[in-house]
Every structure is written in C-alpha cells, then in structure tokens.
Point group: C2
C-alpha cells in the first residue's frame, strides 16, 4: 500500500506560502513494529500557526525541518495495530500530519470515545478550542459587562473565543472580512455586532460599537486591524495577542502597531500566549467546552473541504481569509 | 513686579517641538488673595511627558490649552503669603509652570522640609522617581537574578529605574547614546553593562549581554530601539512601556514595533502605566526612595542648566538626548 504525503520544501519567511514550499511524495508503507499502528488519515485541520512551524522562527515548537512531513493534527481510523491500547477500527486523534497513511506510536495518539462528534477534537476540543479558552480565561480575564473586540472573528479560534466571551457575560463585537462572515458572527455565533473591515471604515465602526473603548481586544490578525483597535481601548484594557495572520500579506509583513503608544495612556496590557503553557489544565478546559457544546452554547462551525491533493491550497486559503469557521480537509470517509 | 512666562502657542503633533510652540510674555503681578501665595520659581524640571501635554493626545491628564502657561513641576521660595500654612521664606514644590513668579493656592503646593535636598523633589522624590519606582515594582515585577534592559538609561527615569532594579538584585544593562553616558551608567549608577546605540550594533550587543533573553525591558524610548529589544526576550518577559521619547524624531514618529510578534513566542507581556494610578502609595514609595538616597544606594544625577529664557531650548534638548540624568533649569538662586 502507498502512503501519499507532502513534505516541507521551503520556508516562507517574509513572504506568503507558495506551492513550491511543499514536495508531493508517494512511498511504499513499511511494516509496523511493536506498539505502532497503521492509520488511515480521515480529516486534517489547518491553523495559522502552521506558517510559523514552516518558518521555524523563534523555535517555539519542535522545529519542522526541510523534508519533514508537514505537521498538523488529524482524526484517523486504525487499520492495523501492534498496540494493546488500540484495535482495528478505533477512531483516534493526534499529529497525523499531511499524509494519507501515518504509522504512529501508541503514545502519540489518543482514542476518541465520542464518535458522534469526532471532528470536534480538531476544533472546539482540540488546539483551536483550547487556544480560545485559555486566551479568554488566562489572558483576557473577562468580567461580565466588559466590551470585547475579537479580530479574525469568523475563524476557528476567533469564533470560539467570541462565544466564550458571550458565556462570560461580555458584549462582543467581531471583525471579519465580508458580509457573509459578518452575518454568521451575529446569527450563528451570537455576537452583539460585527464589522466588515473590507467595506467599512474600521476606525469609525469601532467608535460606534465601543464609544467608551474596549476592555478586551482578542487579536488573531495583527497589522492595521490591530493598530486601529489600539485606538479604542478602555482604561486597563487587556489585549490578548493570539496570532498575526495578516503577516501573510506582503504589505503587512513588517507592519508594527504604532498605536501601541496608547498602552501608556490607557494603562493597557498586551500579552502573547500559547495554549501549550496550560497543558495541565486541558482536561478541565475540555470538559467545560464539551458541556457548552452539548448545551448548545458553543458552536464549532467547520469549513470542510475535500481531497488530500488540496492540502497546500487549503492552507493558503486560510491566510487569504477564505475559511468560515474551523478549516478542515477530508481525506477519507 | 513682573511675572515672565511662556505660554503654549502650538501643538507639536506628528512633529518635533519648535520655538514657535511657545509665546513669551511679561505681565504685572496682581495682588494675592486669601489662601494664596506669591512664589519665586527657583528650579523647574523637564520630562518627556511634556510633549504629550502640549499635544493633548488621549487626554491622559487635564488638557493644556493654547494660551495656558506651560506646565511643569518646580521648587519655589515663598515671597508673600496669605496662607496660614506657609510663611515667607518657605521652600515649596508644586506645578509652578514656566514662569518666574507663580501665584498659587495653598492647596496646590507642598512644603519641602528637607531643605538639604530640595531638588530631589523634582527628581528621585518627584514624578520622575515615582514613575521609576512604580514602573519597576508594579509593572516589571523584578525577581532577584532577572536580566533587565533599560532604554533611555541615562535619563531621569531610566537612571533611577536601573538603580532600583539593582537594589532588587537584578542584572541591569542600559542603552544610551554616546560613550560618556555609557560610562556614567556603569561608574555612577552601577549598571552591569551599557550599550551605546549610536556606535554599536544594538542587536549584537543585546545578544552578548542577554544570551538567554531579557526577563524585563524597561522602555522609555520606543521606536527601533524597543523593536530590537523585543528580539531579546526570555520566556514570560515583562516589557514596561514607560515612554516613547523617540516619537520626537521625524523618522520614528510613526514607527510601530513589528517584533511585537515575539510576545507570542515568548509569552511576554507589554504594559503601559502612569504613576498617577498609584497616588495612594506615593508616601510609602517616597520614604523608601529617600532612605535609599541617604544610604547612598540611589543617586539622582541632575543636569542643571540656567536661565529662564532657555526653557524652550532645554525641553527640545531633552528629546535630542542632550541631558545626562534629570534635566533641571535654574531660574533663581
């Protein structure tokens, strides 16, 4: 049997991701060893952090080397097992990477018992959801009645963060690109308002929604959008720096938020974070998130594309704002 | 008798301060009323915040209007008193502003009992010292052994902040412009190292002094210097944004620190503050600072110029980095 895979061929530093950054390869599958499993990758997930892994800037996770299979999380079916922990047919999650048939060690995967919502383990119950949860609870520290701005609000993390802020009793305004996404924020996710940065004057709209400034800015975007948000801070505002997806765009690549000066006048705090720092609390966090999903308070919208060959294009689309909700790619049924 | 004064004539927004931003005026002194005092302004102080007052951006203190006497703190002698709290000859401190003979209400001034160090009330025991003290203790939160970078380290706030970090057991490296200032940091203020940003490659020198990154950056400067510091952060670093004196330079006026992205990778916190937020704690803070001065642990170096007519030029010099230590101007003996 053949394993199809994409490996890293280039580092997109200071430029957008291109097709040349990946090599497509096919290889004969080797036999599995003791404690290993052969998996069929079913669904893989996409997140902006993947560009950081490709660039390998600041070594914030184990480096991805040129020639390595492109890293991502996925949901897979066990085809063959030499592990006592898993049996053929089990559905598991783990870093299955951009390949059709991963061979993985039993220690590197997790059994999904809840097979009625397996893809949630790539969204609300995976890294995306945990990033949103810890960014809200640990960094943004919401109080009921706080005014919150979420940027990249229609994305995987943004849409979940906004909903968690709503659960915390905040007034939540989302920034997204396009009318359709903005309607989704209000109708699907229950945001109190939405700003289409593509058609509106962002500065004016922020002034309307936040006449007294925002207590919290949850930022996934950076660049000029963050810079405008920094002009609309309340005293003691918290700005959670979750990601900088705008770095993908050439004209934003080296854009620093000059309005950081407002941090002084508003005695505000801008803080970066990674969900990795809170691993000891993920069990509790997941339990809460799961309950919210079951109670219908938290919706994890999935943007599901199909076809393994579309992996590079799907990742590029993420940086062009094409996804509505969490970007997933179906590889096998 | 005549009161000579400088009033605000222009707002230096998006540009350096110019002579045209002030009007020089002379006026006959009126008689003082009950609870008022006639003062002779002896020494006035300069600080970067004055440009912010002139610009009146973000209204972070009571606005300074066009035509108002330029605001500053000063030390003055009581020439005439209709207050029961003060008598002729007393030395007082308060917002005496850019004028030779202020008339002030008894509630707006403070008696200086320590007449052996009156100018300390414009430096280490005034707003400058309190800004350094609270920026260190409330925002930077130093631990013994922490590596600290102070920018604008030869200035009023920077030199005091660096010394307080030393008292807190930190390893302190200062950035300043010119060899003379750098020698002062090490020889006078006891810094562990100094970087001359004018003659050295800042990025390289930071790498040498902070091979594992800085736990704290105490920033008075902003612009490209802050941006370089952001590349040298330790995990969980704190960046205290105290001021942005580089905004005075045209080429830095709208410079945003693009390396704020490192806040994510290093899980770092960038926080603005004003000492005004800690007024309830100033008595305790001053007591500590005074003890440190008496014990020789804290030196408040004063850069004393002379002549009231030089006030505008002295303020401009502050933004050109001409001062070594706290900038003061002597108006009367």
């Amino acid at each position: 049997m053949l394993n199809k895979k994409f490996t890293l061929a280039g580092r997109p530093i200071g430029r957008p991701i291109s097709d040349d950054d990946f090599d497509y390869k096919e290889e004969e599958l080797r036999n599995i060893n003791d404690r290993e499993l052969l998996l069929e990758n079913m669904v893989i997930e996409f997140q902006p952090a993947q560009k950081g892994w490709m660039e390998n800037i600041s070594n914030y996770v184990a480096p991805l080397e040129i020639g390595d299979v492109m890293r991502c999380s996925g949901i897979a079916r066990v085809l063959d097992s030499k592990s006592k922990k898993f049996k053929k047919g089990d559905i598991v999650s783990g870093q299955t990477c951009w390949q059709t048939h991963p061979i993985m060690n039993e220690d590197d995967i997790e059994l999904i018992e809840d097979t009625d919502m397996p893809t949630a383990y790539l969204g609300a119950l995976g890294g995306t959801g945990l990033t949103a949860y810890f960014g809200v609870t640990k960094i943004s520290k919401p109080n009921p009645g706080d005014t919150v701005i979420v940027t990249g609000a229609a994305g995987g993390v943004g849409s979940l963060a906004g909903q968690i802020f709503k659960i915390a009793g905040c007034n939540v305004y989302g920034i997204a690109g396009g009318k359709e996404k903005c309607e989704m924020l209000i109708n699907d996710f229950g945001f109190d308002g939405a700003i289409d940065y593509k058609s509106e004057n962002l500065n004016e709209s922020l002034g309307k929604f936040c006449p007294n400034g925002a207590d919290i800015v949850y930022d996934n975007v950076g660049g000029r959008i963050l810079n405008d948000c920094l002009l609309h801070l309340a005293l003691n505002a918290r700005i959670a720096i979750c990601g900088i997806i705008s770095r993908h765009k050439t004209d934003n690549m080296n854009f620093g938020p000059e309005n950081y000066s407002n941090l002084i006048f508003k005695r505000a705090t801008m803080q970066g974070f990674l969900m990795l720092d809170y691993v000891s609390e993920t069990v509790v966090a997941r339990k809460k998130m799961k309950k919210w999903i079951e109670d219908g308070k938290l919706i994890c919208k999935e943007d599901l594309r199909e076809g393994f060959e579309n992996a590079p294009d799907t990742l590029k689309g993420l940086f062009d704002g094409k996804n509505k909700g969490k970007q997933l790619l179906k590889i096998a049924d």
